[in-house]
Symmetry: C2
Subunit: 420 residues, 2 copies
């Protein structure tokens, strides 16, 4: 009987719960629902033809390699390409610092596997990426949360949280998911300073760094930490000896369906992560890695990212304009300089979880904000809105529907907060 | 400093070690080494052309789906195909019983994630698949081992082991890795009986089931368990309510580079595993799943598996013949009816781990048997030999080299056991 299994689930799994986002994706795939819920790239910018050519080239020239088992650390030319690419963003790494992962989600899982004992504290932003919480809940992690504001993580509150002794800090400095905010340079410097002062390392998650639509590039934490250590005389062996594990991905710049991400870390940490990955899935799809390399190797990625920036930048503008026009008074939202999401706050008396079924009736969807809080009793009147997936006229129409529904809800007090 | 990370590794990771097989694969990729070490399929039987056509078709007809995020449980047509395929082997399942995994290795990881608390006992065969040990070591599992003989798991010793209260039994009934042995029908019935008697469920790992070169198909444990429960009146709701999680893979019948496996279990167990997979890698490559479906959907797989059986069956015969000819007296080996491996035992005074560097000098490689024992002090005079990857004349030559080296070692007593 299936109950024989149930009685045997590991204790920590009482805290595993199905991802709200992914369950929502199922509800909102009816073609007439305008969904701001997922974190889906726009399919119309996928480089489908180029992938087709690349798939043919790879299978024709190196089919027996592409279909065979490969090394756990990943396909060397792709790791080398990633190093070259990251150098433009001030990150100095060798292929031995790079592990290819089955999407960035696997990087989060491997970090949990390597570092988290049951009951260990992890410092997270509030709100933070729910997939990280989900990955680490499976290892029995606990959390200490530090709020973000328009300039990202509130570093004025960081020191108190660090004194609680978290295993590491998890920070999304660029166009945060779900907040849409960017961590200001002076705060990045402060994060690095406090990391070194308290001896608490950093996991820097940067899935959207290349997708900036306004403002200037800000150095990633991994580069600032290397500078810090270098000037403090702590690091004589080049950049990659530092306090930061950096996570990147091709999901937003190329295609998420290929499940290709990467981790950058000191060699001895990468070696440990490789062991973890060996036991987890042996290696990431050889074919997908070789295909991606074939697609990106000749400068195509920069050109393609420019297209994505243009398309998503326009959609961001349309959504910001539509929010101004259609959202009722008492609402506020972030103004992201890049990425895929913005974060909206509705009046205190609205519970966005309670309201969601009504939204789906109105043929529009979002992710209720509570999903992004380590403490799920918080954030009841917040929501995450994705602006990359829907086309401009749909964004306008969807925000209009959402605004209308919010106005009704406020007027009729249809949706009282679940938490009184 | 990187040591900041080191001091923070989770306690259980002191037991994580780099896979012996995968490290060996690196050493033995020089083209002049004949390697029996890996578990690599023969690249010359990969259906490269058909994959190329399928890749084009998928990207042309459904590129925006193939490159996009997909459902965690996997691509529905592929799950349906798997159900149809398994029905031929007596396994009755619906798509809701099937979870697509990033190779079978991920299935092992998800089982550890779902079931293993630190210190939990898992019952394994001795020897057993080292990737399973590696997956579960990461969750802090402990083991109780039951030896195999020529008919597979020694069920006469099973009851004592079950009384120690393991969380589940891990069994590879067909052409076991590394043993090459097949679990006899009467023993399968006994395993199912004891599973039900002691209330201890079964993980049945069947990567090679379709690759039989001699003898008749034997019903899988998952089917026998369903029959048992049905006749005991325990199961009114069809087969998939039972005590068995079944693992399958396309790695040996199609291509390992695509990283495509699957799990079959009761719906409520699958639901839990889906949650675990969400936090682990969101989903398996959409493109690879759609590509595989396109390749296999029209009866190609049966035809292709017939080719593989012919090629590997011949190689098995060549290896068995070469062992007879070249191996010194005092050696013995299994005679597998299928799969990729056979298991050799050399004289007691030889330590195959100590001997390996000498073998590589002689331009031949194998996996030392200790890697497959939960208790690494055991199996010093055993080795696993793969017969699928090398071509027949290489097999003959490699076994000749290995035999020569063994004879020298015995004569000169070059390699004394490490364990006195």
């Amino acid at each position: 009987m299936a109950t024989l299994w149930k009685s045997r689930y590991a204790q920590r799994n009482q805290r595993m719960s199905r991802s709200v986002i992914r369950e929502l994706l199922k509800l909102t795939t009816q073609p007439d629902v305008i969904s701001f819920a997922g974190g889906l790239p726009a399919p119309e910018v996928f480089p489908t033809e180029r992938c087709q050519e690349a798939a043919c080239t790879v299978l024709q020239n190196a089919g027996s390699m592409a279909l065979q088992y490969g090394p756990t650390e990943g396909y060397l030319p792709l790791r080398q390409f990633i190093c070259n690419q990251m150098a433009r963003y001030g990150i100095s790494a060798q292929p031995s610092n790079v592990l290819i992962t089955t999407g960035s989600q696997q990087a989060l899982d491997l970090i949990g596997k390597l570092l988290a004992n049951a009951g260990d504290l992890i410092l997270v932003e509030e709100p933070t990426y729910l997939g990280a919480l989900q990955a680490w809940n499976a290892y029995g992690a606990e959390y200490v949360s530090v709020p973000i504001d328009d300039d990202g993580l509130r570093t004025d509150l960081l020191e108190d949280a660090l004194r609680q002794g978290p295993k590491f800090m998890y920070v999304l400095p660029n166009f945060q998911n779900p907040g849409g905010t960017t961590l200001a340079l002076e705060r990045r410097l402060e994060v690095v300073h406090l990391s070194n002062k308290y001896g608490i390392p950093i996991v820097e998650d940067d899935p959207y760094g290349a997708l900036r639509y306004a403002g200037d590039h800000v150095q990633p934490l991994v580069a600032l930490d290397a500078d810090y250590q270098h000037s403090a005389g702590l690091n004589g062996h080049g950049y990659m000896e530092g306090n930061v594990i950096y996570l990147g991905t091709f999901s937003k710049t190329l295609a998420p369906g290929l499940r290709l991400g990467w981790m950058v870390a000191p060699v001895e940490v990468i070696d440990q992560l490789i062991m973890g990955k060996q036991g987890t899935d042996l290696h990431t799809s050889t074919f997908d890695q070789m295909l991606a390399y074939e697609v990106v190797k000749d400068g195509f990625l920069e050109q393609h990212v420019r297209t994505i920036r243009r398309v998503y930048g326009e959609r961001r503008n349309v959504m910001l304009q539509a929010l101004e026009t259609h959202f009722p008074e008492g609402c506020s939202w972030t103004h992201p300089d890049g990425g895929l999401f913005l974060w909206a706050r509705v009046p205190e008396e609205i519970d966005t979880t309670t309201l969601l079924p009504l939204a789906v009736e109105h043929k529009v969807a979002y992710v209720p904000g509570t999903a992004f809080f380590a403490d799920p009793t918080r954030g009841h009147n917040t929501m995450r809105l994705n602006f990359s997936n829907a086309q401009p006229q749909q964004i306008e129409e969807g925000i209009c529907r959402l605004g209308r529904m919010l106005k009704e809800a406020i007027a009729k007090r249809l949706a009282l907060p679940a938490t009184g």
